[in-house]
């Protein structure tokens, strides 16, 4: 029984770390730019498929391909920022939020259809030779791939955290998050900051996508479910909190894994319901400031 619970816990952490990683990019973009990108999951899907292509067509190991996908998605993010989101980035807060939401929503209509053409509706997965291997510790099974996923998620998020708090550019990002007008007055290049932020957020989504493709299946329609997950995590954590997003991701993963024992197929509904209750009782998030 204890082993079973511990195993559930470990599984929850494996999934939760991916939730956290998926959410951090969304949180970053929202925190700095006040743009709610409901197409976040779509970029995540693209990242997963690029990783799949690298692996399938060129035999690139997914963990080697990870930085490549990150860089590629960063560029895609910049392109999308330049072409569409930059046009709404400097509107008044509420108008910007609404219009960016609608644009992202348009992207959500486009991406799965294009993905259907490029990769067909079949379920894909990145499955290198070592993907099923695991080791036992006190009767609890640890898969190498999920474990590596958790480690990478932690490393990426720590790197993000250090980047935001210790570097000059990171500080200018956070300054922009407080007030882009004030940041601009103090000589921060806003256009650049926005562009890099968006690229970074999308790049994080891509990395999460590859890690997801290693443990779960890829489909053209996985975008919206993952956007919802990321949204839940971000709202749980409080908009714009990076480390909080990771912790909230872990919490959601564990809650889902544990409730799966009792609720079976209704697990997703439980996760969503808990989220709604927290949203109503504590709209600023568990880790957010009131």
């Amino acid at each position: 029984m204890v082993q079973f619970l511990a195993q559930t816990f470990v599984n929850g952490i494996n999934v939760g770390a991916l939730y956290g990683l998926a959410a951090v990019g969304l949180s970053l973009i929202f925190g700095v730019m006040r743009i709610l990108n409901v197409a976040h999951g779509e970029f995540l899907m693209v990242g997963g498929y690029i990783g799949f292509w690298l692996f399938k067509l060129y035999g690139v190991d997914p963990f080697v391909g990870l930085p490549l996908v990150g860089i590629f998605l960063f560029l895609i993010g910049i392109v999308f920022y330049k072409v569409v989101f930059s046009r709404v980035a400097k509107f008044h807060e509420e108008v910007k939020l609404k219009n960016s939401l609608l644009i992202a929503f348009g992207l959500y209509l486009i991406f799965p259809q294009i993905a259907m053409v490029l990769w067909t509706a079949d379920e894909r997965a990145i499955s290198p030779a070592y993907s099923g291997q695991a080791f036992d510790l006190l009767g609890v099974r640890f898969g190498y791939v999920p474990l590596a996923g958790v480690c990478i998620a932690i490393i990426v998020i720590l790197a993000m955290y250090l980047f935001l708090t210790k570097t000059y550019f990171g500080k200018s990002l956070r300054g922009t998050a407080e007030s882009w007008k004030a940041a601009k007055l103090s000589g921060i290049h806003i256009e650049w900051t926005f562009m890099i932020t968006f690229g970074l957020g999308i790049s994080l989504a891509g990395i999460a996508g590859v890690l997801i493709a290693l443990t779960q299946e890829l489909t053209p329609f996985m975008g919206m479910p993952w956007t919802l997950k990321a949204l839940i995590v971000v709202v749980l954590a409080g908009m714009g909190s990076i480390v909080g997003a990771f912790v909230a991701g872990l919490i959601l993963g564990i809650v889902e894994a544990v409730s799966a024992i009792f609720m079976g197929p209704y697990t997703i509904a439980i996760g969503l319901l808990i989220f709604l209750i927290i949203l109503v009782l504590r709209p600023q998030g568990l880790f957010g400031r009131a």
């Binding site: 939401l101 644009i103 209509l109 799965p112 839940i232 209704y266």
Partner: protein, 316 residues
């Protein structure tokens, strides 16, 4: 309203023409498209009330459409007379809206958007799990299946929704809603009961959405219960309302006609679901370059096709 007699005349004329449509043609494709267009008018107008007039971007609209559809379908197939089933479907959708409305309207702005999106998703997951089997009309109903009653029902629904939006846009209630849309705090200060106004808007909106669902359930031969809760219904309504012109009476009508025609045309000429991608691009272009929708573009070129006074156009 002597000033508006001309508009009423036009409106009545259009309804009469639409009512006589089956006399002119018995091509089933024309009737099917008209049916779909009218149903989309009903659904998009219902979203227009909460999203366009009250300014609450409700991304959980599919939940109410689905509740209406599923309730109507099961009651009807269980033997209840159809009109009673239809009304119960709309009623259930409204009751659900009022139940969740009170906590949901504690959320403002972006949190309301996310909350409603998630709520619809919960319902979809539960329904998918609970009712995994598609509901198909029984053989005896299929044998007598005819498009005509479906067409007239859709027409009635669409007319009802247009009338509802017309009266809302000219009532004290509608003014309250628009005040909330423009600035909630200012509206409260000027004595608008925020929660009450939002709840009434939500109730009317979801009643019409439930009605749209019920008519759809009557129209379709086979229905997958999870499908009527799919976010696609929300997104279709949102796209139609924005492309046509949000917060206007005519916008959703233009949007629906355009949407159905383009969708049919594109799905004939493009493989798979690619027409959705075209809609996505179109939608982004409208949001970026035409924030008030087609209605504004038409107005700008001097071809006024509006009913009554100038439509209420929301600032982008």
């Amino acid at each position: 309203m002597p000033k508006n007699w001309k508009s009423f005349f036009i409106f009545g004329g259009i309804i009469a023409l639409l009512a006589m449509l089956p006399l002119f043609t018995n091509r089933s494709d024309v009737l099917t498209w008209s049916c779909l267009t009218l149903q989309y008018i009903l659904l998009s107008q219902s979203w227009n009330i909460i999203g366009g007039y009250a300014g609450q971007v409700n991304l959980g609209h599919a939940a109410f459409f689905g509740l209406g559809a599923l309730t109507t379908r099961y009651l009807w197939l269980a033997g209840l007379p159809f009109p009673a089933s239809l009304l119960s479907g709309a009623f259930i959708a409204t009751v659900f809206a009022l139940l969740i409305g009170i906590p949901a309207f504690r959320l403002r702005g972006i949190y309301f958007v996310i909350g409603t999106l998630v709520l619809a998703e919960i319902l979809k997951v539960v329904i998918d799990t609970r009712f995994p089997v598609a509901s198909v009309l029984p053989v005896e109903t299929l044998l007598t299946y005819s498009l005509l009653p479906r067409y007239y029902l859709s027409l009635m629904g669409a007319v009802l929704s247009v009338i509802a939006v017309y009266f809302i846009s000219r009532s004290r209630l509608g003014l309250g809603m628009m005040a909330i849309r423009e600035d909630e705090d200012a509206a409260r200060t000027s004595g608008v009961n925020i929660l009450q106004n939002k709840l009434i808007a939500f109730a009317i909106s979801t009643f019409l959405a439930g009605l749209a669902g019920g008519i759809f359930a009557f129209y379709m031969v086979a229905i997958q219960p999870g499908y009527v809760f799919s976010p696609i219904w929300t997104f279709d309504s949102v796209v139609i309302v924005f492309v046509g012109g949000i917060g206007t009476l005519i916008g959703p009508i233009i949007g629906s006609v355009f949407f159905v025609l383009l969708k049919q045309w594109l799905s004939l000429h493009l493989p798979g679901g690619l027409h959705l991608a075209v809609f996505g691009v179109l939608f982004i272009l409208v949001v970026l370059y035409m924030p008030d929708g087609f209605i504004e573009a038409i107005r700008r070129y001097g071809k006024m096709v509006t009913l009554g006074r100038k439509p209420m156009v929301q600032g982008g």
